[in-house]
Symmetry: D2
Amino acid sequence: MIVVMKPDATPAQIEHMSAHIVSLGLSPQVIQGTHQTVIAALGEERPGLIEALEPGDGVEKVLPIMAPYKRASSELKRERTVVQARGLIVGGVKVAMIAGPCSVESEEQIVSLAKTLKGLGATGLRGGAFKPRTSPYSFQGHKELGLKMLATARAETGLAIVTEVMAPEHVPMMAEYADVLQIGARNMQNYQLLQAVGDSGKPALLKRGMSATIEEFLLAAEYILDRGNPNVMLCERGIRTFEDHTRFTLPLATVPYLNEKSHLPVVVDPSHGTGKARLVPAMARAAIAAGADALMLEVHDDPEHAVSDGSQTITPAVFKQVMDECRRIAHAVDRTL
Amino acid sequence: MIVVMKPDATPAQIEHMSAHIVSLGLSPQVIQGTHQTVIAALGEERPGLIEALEPGDGVEKVLPIMAPYKRASSELKRERTVVQARGLIVGGVKVAMIAGPCSVESEEQIVSLAKTLKGLGATGLRGGAFKPRTSPYSFQGHKELGLKMLATARAETGLAIVTEVMAPEHVPMMAEYADVLQIGARNMQNYQLLQAVGDSGKPALLKRGMSATIEEFLLAAEYILDRGNPNVMLCERGIRTFEDHTRFTLPLATVPYLNEKSHLPVVVDPSHGTGKARLVPAMARAAIAAGADALMLEVHDDPEHAVSDGSQTITPAVFKQVMDECRRIAHAVDRTL
Amino acid sequence: MIVVMKPDATPAQIEHMSAHIVSLGLSPQVIQGTHQTVIAALGEERPGLIEALEPGDGVEKVLPIMAPYKRASSELKRERTVVQARGLIVGGVKVAMIAGPCSVESEEQIVSLAKTLKGLGATGLRGGAFKPRTSPYSFQGHKELGLKMLATARAETGLAIVTEVMAPEHVPMMAEYADVLQIGARNMQNYQLLQAVGDSGKPALLKRGMSATIEEFLLAAEYILDRGNPNVMLCERGIRTFEDHTRFTLPLATVPYLNEKSHLPVVVDPSHGTGKARLVPAMARAAIAAGADALMLEVHDDPEHAVSDGSQTITPAVFKQVMDECRRIAHAVDRTL
Amino acid sequence: MIVVMKPDATPAQIEHMSAHIVSLGLSPQVIQGTHQTVIAALGEERPGLIEALEPGDGVEKVLPIMAPYKRASSELKRERTVVQARGLIVGGVKVAMIAGPCSVESEEQIVSLAKTLKGLGATGLRGGAFKPRTSPYSFQGHKELGLKMLATARAETGLAIVTEVMAPEHVPMMAEYADVLQIGARNMQNYQLLQAVGDSGKPALLKRGMSATIEEFLLAAEYILDRGNPNVMLCERGIRTFEDHTRFTLPLATVPYLNEKSHLPVVVDPSHGTGKARLVPAMARAAIAAGADALMLEVHDDPEHAVSDGSQTITPAVFKQVMDECRRIAHAVDRTL
């Protein structure tokens, strides 16, 4: 931690801060600069230290040195994490495809679609049973009935089920049906939920909050890891910016950055990331070229009649094209698909 | 709903969309423009309609006409809502002050501070017992013990207790101690929590998510209102932007805009909104000048030793100054404080 | 400058960086932390140092200590700058009002409006003669003819003329007619223009770029100051964020922040800052409560027939109301209007 | 243009707006909705119409239907534009590489580097002679001397010279030395400059402003096209968002979106787009996978001693690796490199 004092800080203020640093369990080292003094506070950087140091008289700003996440960091664990749920393997040489409808609508729909997707190369089946909806007047999902439909689709195809969990108290029930528990972007900082998923031990797919920094994203993962659950996938799904021609802005530099800072595998969701079906194929290709370990795509037989997210949903025919194009990109980066 | 067709849309596509609009329970009216056709879809705009219309062949874009929130709208309810919890009245002529520490630290701290704040004119006491923290390694609050401390402070001062609830299953217990249930920015779209707070009937202080649009903010309020709980306060606490000299960007135009679109009272939190104690007094004044019904401020006897949020916390001495300054501003806009 | 080395940086890398720091004319001081080494580079922080240090092997990041602006800083010049152009005085106890149409449309319009505004208390007259327009098909202004109309309005009222200059080669001509040269948000980093305005010695009103940080804003002012022109006003006019209910987001915390960091006076433009005439009065009040030295407002006799910016333009009747309300706020913060 | 009236708009207001629409040269068509009336204003949408309609009494909002750009639109010109400057061809099957230092530092440097880049497959040489710098105290470029150095490098290698022009009055001189005139992100809305570049007829590389919407970006291109210069390349170089782990956020969905809406070729700049040399290779690959026609990369023999932008600059060795990787991606999308 570096405490930058104001240019007109008094010796008494510098002394006070040094003592304050000692009282916080750190060791101060005063550095006399040309214009102002800085105090290096040596020792373990804990959360809360910045906030304890900033209010000090004569302090201009406090600069952290260390990354605040530990278990998610590639410094702590050098070998890359591979998350496996049935045939869905994320983090290996093979790029994985998780596909399916936004919402589970009926058993017939999900089983038939699952068979198609399986045939085209998907290894994970996504589908919402509990739906977080911006409006209370929107379809909220078939709930446990939807989970049963997903389980049937799994029984018929062997695809791993990826579905969103919205509340801590649902985790045990969800864990019975799902192979991967998805934590949605809106819940990325729902800490009770993160801890419950951590406790479940189930593979988790954690979506980045739409305005979360990478540090906050990794700290959210830390909540799961900290409960002893190492099976975390990080999913970039687009951030909120001033851009209005897409639903979100999909920042693919997240992929190589996370690959450098963390050992956790990275999934990209070009459906939410763009909000436009027409842009999905290009961004799917780009995500794999950037180093993504898996993609998550919304696919529906008839987007016009999907109960949710039709605008960003591709048809099985387009999914087939995406698979073909992405396979070529995967090979170009020495991976398979 | 206005469906804008592409300039090269075919008559068959226009006909298909008209039929699709009928099948969705709306009435289509085709308007032949100079360059392209638009179809007005007349009738009640429900959530999901845009997504059902956008995937249609030949569709360029779909423009909603009506606001998606109903119960929060000033069109549905003309007279302004006043929320009352003990002596804390938000929405009347008198501007209310909710003040207190970020976290409840000890009974002695909270009781002593509550007395000071009461003496200076606050009518609400804020204080976190359950703390949502970005890092799992941060202090997570004294939990129920903290609630008991708050209750003691109330017994001694009569201040209404405003405290954050983090999980639906905590609501019944929280409701026993708290006068106002606060829903934090990170949980603005935690729908289970919104519904539980709605069901409790308790006054709710709903913080705007840091990247929520006003429409999303009002739809989150709608979740609470829709459960029959009319006692909702909207709290602007800053949004995430590219600005880096403040912790968040506090957009005060939210205040007159919400006052126009909604009947719900508006609270402003200049502490989180700036993240810098030095900027709090100016933004407190500005919020009242813009029309805020209440302020929410972090105050601590010794910010340097606060367990959380020291950087943005003011001392009781500064709070006194803020009260004096804000009282003058309140009078200048024909209100009291 | 603080150079943070990676946790696995080798002694050779640390030594190399120390030597590199010396070669850049700074003095290195190595600090051995618990997890990683940081090197303080003592001496004058020049632009370009971060970029010279960051590519070094073993470097994780480089943290600057000093603010990069000098002449705009309140550290260099303690007393506050007051800019005067005829009766327009910005930076004193009295809050100044600069008002007028977006574009100068005709001599009759501008003279008549100027008289009205003068009668209501404005001391500056804004009006565009050269208009920066997003589309090449929009009205581009009456150019020099417009300047002559402004000069006539000044002759009739004594109001100081504030008008935008768009190109360095226009500066000499503009300087003949205008009392204050406005640099628009889109040109905040048009360095040739900043230097030309600096060389002119004319009072300058510098608008913040819509995505400029405060540091970049003050560095743009530095370009003018560095040419020996001390008469610079800083104008907050809103930034671009994800918000879509206003044209821009008007971040008023800029006002107290600039008042702390700089000696230059601060102007706020609630017309562009909101893009909505209905929100202008509240934000005008809030700006003064936050400490603004002047407001800049778009006023037109008939906004519906204004050639530009009608949506955000208020009528003289509303301007009168704004003046009355703002006068009360000004008194509440010990100023006049 | 769709004029949405407020739910409580009176018949007189609706009639007034219809007449106003007629007076603007459009034809009104009133549509009676369930809750509110909308008026379709049929005819050519010109700039300024929204602003003329929004201030009307009883108007809630105005929704444009048509895109405001014409000449840049793929609707007006179906075949894709190919821009050629010597051997640099942007827009064909072959992906082009424009590489070089941020600033031209010396003749020896630029000639030697140009030879290396040419040998590795670049067809364009970038290098700044006039440098837009955030701080007036930064190196501002060798100016005309730098242009002469670039011309020498071209004479030795045949590479096309791409260099930034900063002021309209420089255009004629720049046009003598440069093959492509680059308009920087900060100048994207410097309309005098756009027009001067348009008048020159020289190929133009237009960088997206860091907070420009796609519509504003295409309207800036329109300024050049409107002067009769069809040789415009659109360059995505990253936008300003809340993300702080990269210098900018590089939104690659821009590439397929522009490819759909416009016939102009698209260049991506991963150096500025990330600000981090380590992230450049992945984003270079992703850009080509997304459909970019060319890349623009900062390369320097010794980034640590570059006079500017060292942090985001790759070495020739890394550039060779980027070329090899990108060539494989190009083949995977049926292109060459």
